[in-house]
Structures are given as C-alpha cells and as structure tokens.
Symmetry: C2
Subunit: 336 residues, 2 copies
DNA sequence: CTGTTAGCGCGTTCAC
DNA sequence: GTGAACGCGCTAACAG
C-alpha cells in the first residue's frame, strides 16, 4: 500500500500518549476515558491518521474480505448475483474481491491457489471446471477458508450450495413444448459437462421420456462461448433438423437464436418457438417478446453471501443446499 | 483471515533452515541455491505452507490490490467496464475490490474513507455525487493513493480521466433528429448535475442552437433511478408535450421509453423516434430495433486500469484525459 | 549461498 | 484509566 502519512506511534507522540492508549481509542471497549478518546479521535482526524489495515489483519488474523469467483461478469445473471453479494458484504462491513475466470478451469485453479494464503476469509464461487480435478478445492479446508457455491457447482465437493432447480425448470419447459406439438425440440447448451448444463439436459431428456417422445441426440447441441461460432452451430441445427422449438440453456444462446432466425427469415414463434434461461429485464421488448426461464439472480447471490457470513459467524447452518425457484414466463416466442 | 496451517517459522524448523532462507525460496531473486530452493518448495507444498499475505503487505507496504467504485454494477455498461478493469488487474498480478454506491454520494464518501488506510494501492472510480463536496477526495492524495476516474467524473478534481465525448455524441444525435423534422425532441436524464448528464445536456442544447430550434425547457426531463417512477415521468412527457423524438441519456431510460410506448400504443418510429446511450448487445433484436449511442465500455475500463498501473509503475503519464469515441448506430427506432 | 537480527504497525496482555 | 512490552509472519540488511 502507499504509505499513509502517519502511524500510531507518531500520533501517540503528537498526543503525548502511549500507542496503546491511542489504539484503544479506535476500538470500542469501554476501557478508555471518554474525554481522552475524543481528544485522540480529533487529533487523528486533524493529522489524517488511519489505522493500518494490514497490521491489524496480521495481528488479528482477520481480513474482513471475501472473494467472488465466477466464469464471467459481463452478463445479466452474474452481474446481478455479484450485486447481491457485494451488498451483503458491505452490510457486514466486509470487502469484496472479484475474479473472472473466463470459463477457464486453469484460471480458476490459479485464482483459488492464490487465496490459500488467507487473503480472504471466505469464498463464493460459481465454477468453471466440471469434469476436471477438484482436489485443489480441498486445500481450502486445510486453510479453514469456507467456500459456498452458487449456480454452477461441483457435485463432488461437499460445501454449501445455492442453486435453482435446473432439472425441474428444464423439465417443465420441455414438457410444455412437447405437449404442444413442438416435436422435435432442440436444447442449446454451452457445456454438457457443467453442472448447470447437465441438470438442464437431464430435465430435457426426462421430459421426453415422460411425454414418450423419442429424442434425437443431435438436438442436444453443444454451442460455444464465441458468439459467431454459436450462431453458425445454431443455424446449422435449424436448417438441418428443423426443430419446432428451441430451449436455450443460457441467455446468450437464446438471443443468438433470435439473430439467426432474423437472418434466415425464420419466423418466431410460427416456425420455431424459443424459450431460454435469461435474466434479461427487457425480454418483453424483443421482437417477438422472449419467453424466459428466469432465475432469481440477485437473490442467489444474496443467499450465498448470507450463508457464507453465517459460517464466518459460526452460526449453525440450517441447510447445506438452498434451492431457489426459477420462474417460467411464457411470452410471444412460445405462443402456440 | 482464517489461520493457515503453518507459518514460515514452522516450515523453517521442519527444514532445519532459517526463515530467511525459506523466505528467499519464495522470491525470485537469484540469491538462493537452486537445490535448496526446490527442497524448500517441495516441503512447503507437502506441508501446505503459503506465505501470509498480510505480513508481506505490512512489511513491504504493498497490497497488490486496487479498488473499483461505481454507482451500480448490474448493467451492461458497468459490468463491461469492470470486466476490462479486472482483466488488466489480473494480468498485472493485482487483486480487484469492488464497491457499489447505489448512486449514493454518502456511500461513496464512506467507501473512499475506508480506503485511506492503505487497503488498496489505487482506485478507479465512476462518481455518484456531483454537486456535493469533493474535498474528501483530496485526502487520497495525502495517502499517496492514486485515483483514476472513468465515465462519470468530477470536473473539479484533478486526476486522470477516461471518458467518451458525451457532448459530441449528444450533439450529433440531437442534430440528426432536429435536421430530420423531429422537433420537439425530449432529452431524458437521470441527474442533470452529474458530469455525464451535464455534458449530454449541453450537447443537446447546443444542437438546438446550431439548428436554430427553440428549446422547450420542459423537454429536458429529470427521471429517476426507480423504473416505475421513470415510466410515469416519460409517459407524462410523451402525452403532454408529444415530442417527435426521445434521446435517452442512459440505457434504462431508452428501454423504459419502449415500455411506455408499448403500453400507450405509441408507434416507434412513426410517432416518436428513440435513440439512447446503451451497451445492449441485442439492440437490434428489440421491437423495433433500437438506435444507440454505444460507448466502448470494456475499453473504457481497460484504459482506466492501464492508466492506473502506469501511475503505480511511475511511468510518465502521456495524457491526463483519455477520450474514447462513442459510436452512433441508427436502427429502426430512428428511421425517418 | 545462508543465518542473524531488526523491524513493518498494531493490539493485547499485564502491570501500575 | 494508562503505559511498557511482546509478538502477529514476513523480509531486507548485514555478516559470515
């Protein structure tokens, strides 16, 4: 840090008091005369003294800082989630570090490893590396740094999780489509292996079973993080398999589908219906208005942060897993 | 922080070496035997030793942390900007703290004051409190903590700024509308006093002068941070003054205008044209597609972060003020 | 190349 | 109610 102008010793000298007395003035135990305390505080303000946070951290083994690690930030879902987290942290007098992995497992590992040293008291994470080794997470336990997952989780790691019931929402959305003559329906995912993609896929598959509709494997479509590439894949799917409906597992793929349909002059919802997981506040302003499965993103973040602070405060955890409800909102894009 | 299992002393004992030798193994000066270094690193890994970051911070007066302070996070512009900042920070081996003020001046002051103590080496901020006292910013200088403004700035504070030419883009957009028989045109702002709102208003006013169109003061409309309230205000403006065009100074007000027009069955662009400052990636998917003035949000963040790191590295600053260009994209909502 | 020593700034004993 | 002294964990001098 850039050196603050004055430290406790200098302030003590200026006040003709001991450093311990000065220190006491900044803590809130009644072990100091009210007058001297005020005297000290006034002088401190005058001289611009602020206790060095890192010395305190070292002394107390407390950093009052948490970390949020997520695959991306610049999207409606994650920025809302972080907003919720930051708000709770601020309310608890904590600071919030953010780390974006760009969906890269290796980056996630590096970031977490950089946190073993105690920089933060706790971590809230939405994961990037399902299908990879997760042992590095366990070292966190050794360092006594609590971890809470939200939305995208590792099922094989036993930490508190805050999620929405992706299986259920996907199942319901798919069932709705199948029951309304939208066979075949295509599922667009980013990564089948990620917990989210996985649950949403299972719901999709099981809805087919329930509706006794045979599923064409080619209609579970792995897209890309790259928009251009995804559009190509979607276009190919649309032209080749002519699905009557699309279920997009992330917002980006829903809007990409719109773009493709616009380009290819495929009419929504007449020729293809579209519904997608999305936190777009203006879904109703799209052309046509987009049907959405909307997760309570901010609440997810809030809840995850609250869980983390419960742990930090040694409160007994009521639930290891919090499942919030997603809302399915049918708009014009799935109108029959 | 939660105590890491083992400290340097214990590791040194386990290795039968001195702490300074151990310390050297973790730094990258060539002042240690390669073999002993490897020996130490191996043992460290085995025992799960990680240098305590706060002890290092204290020792070196370096935190390798920066702060981002902004009015809001959950919107396209700011989340993109933060993405850019975080990326640069990560590339420099720095950590990024984020703070959201909810556009509250008082919160901004509290947050900044909480940073005087040297928690961070530098601050990147988009401000919330134009029209208030900014003296508290100057204390940062006393603490030698560099500050860079982006997008929303205090003109009376002399620190590096990364902005777009809001006056220019607003002028051009307004001029376009006035030259195409869209008189009167309404300007929607959140806060006339904020630098952004101010520059965008000046451009708006001056375009009227240039086009020799008399400006109705009632058509510079102060909206709210609350969506519902803003819609009411916009509706009132639309019904009372019947503007032929709307220039929305922030994305939220553009989409709110769409919502009002949808509700009131006012046709865009036939009855009213709409253009807005926006980073919506799907502006072209709206009904009708939205004309936008788009700022290079991520680049703004990137540039601000680069400037800050230049300062931290004592590089000479080439420019006190970086002005990036916004792009005006006309779509259907301003079609004549 | 390695060990010894002396703080970084603060907060908490324990005396007085 | 206040001060002296120690140590949190680490690293930079300095010596050897």
């Amino acid at each position: 840090m850039s050196k603050s102008f004055i430290n406790i010793k200098e302030l003590a000298v200026a006040l003709n008091l001991s450093t311990s007395t000065v220190s006491r003035a900044f803590r809130d135990k009644g072990d100091i005369n009210a007058d001297t305390k005020q005297y000290i505080l006034d002088k401190a303000k005058e001289l611009g003294y602020y206790p060095n946070i890192y010395a305190s951290n070292l002394r107390d083994s407390k950093s009052r800082t948490i970390a949020v690690i997520m695959p991306e930030l610049a999207n409606n879902f994650f920025s809302l989630a972080v907003k919720g987290i930051e708000r709770v942290a601020q309310a608890n007098g904590y600071h919030t570090l953010i780390y974006v992995t760009d969906s890269l497992y290796q980056k996630e590992v590096e970031i977490v490893e950089d946190l073993y040293n105690g920089r933060v008291e706790g971590i809230i994470m939405s994961v990037s590396g399902e299908g990879n080794d997760h042992q590095y997470i366990n070292k966190l336990k050794q360092s006594h740094i609590p971890l809470v997952f939200f939305d995208r989780v590792y099922d094989d790691i036993d930490v508190p999780k805050v999620i929405t019931d992706d299986y259920d929402s996907s199942f319901k959305a798919t069932e709705y489509l199948l029951n309304n003559h939208c066979d075949p329906v295509a599922l667009l995912v980013i990564d089948k292996n990620v917990s989210i993609g996985n649950a949403r896929m299972k719901g999709f598959v099981d809805a087919h079973k329930k509706c006794k509709v045979k599923l064409n494997e080619n209609l579970v479509v792995d897209c890309s993080n790259d928009l251009e590439e995804s559009c190509q894949i979607i276009k190919h799917t649309l032209l080749t398999y002519k699905p009557k409906a699309i279920l997009a597992s992330v917002e980006r793929l829903a809007t990409a589908s719109y773009t493709v349909c616009l380009d290819e002059k495929i009419k929504i919802p007449e020729e293809v219906k579209i519904i997608g997981y999305s936190n777009l506040s203006i879904a109703s302003l799209l052309n046509p208005s987009l049907s959405t499965i909307t997760q309570p993103a901010e609440e997810l973040g809030t809840k995850a942060a609250e869980l983390l602070f419960d742990i930090l405060k040694d409160k007994p955890l009521l639930q290891k897993e919090v499942v919030l409800e997603a809302e399915i909102i049918h708009r014009v894009s799935t109108t029959l």
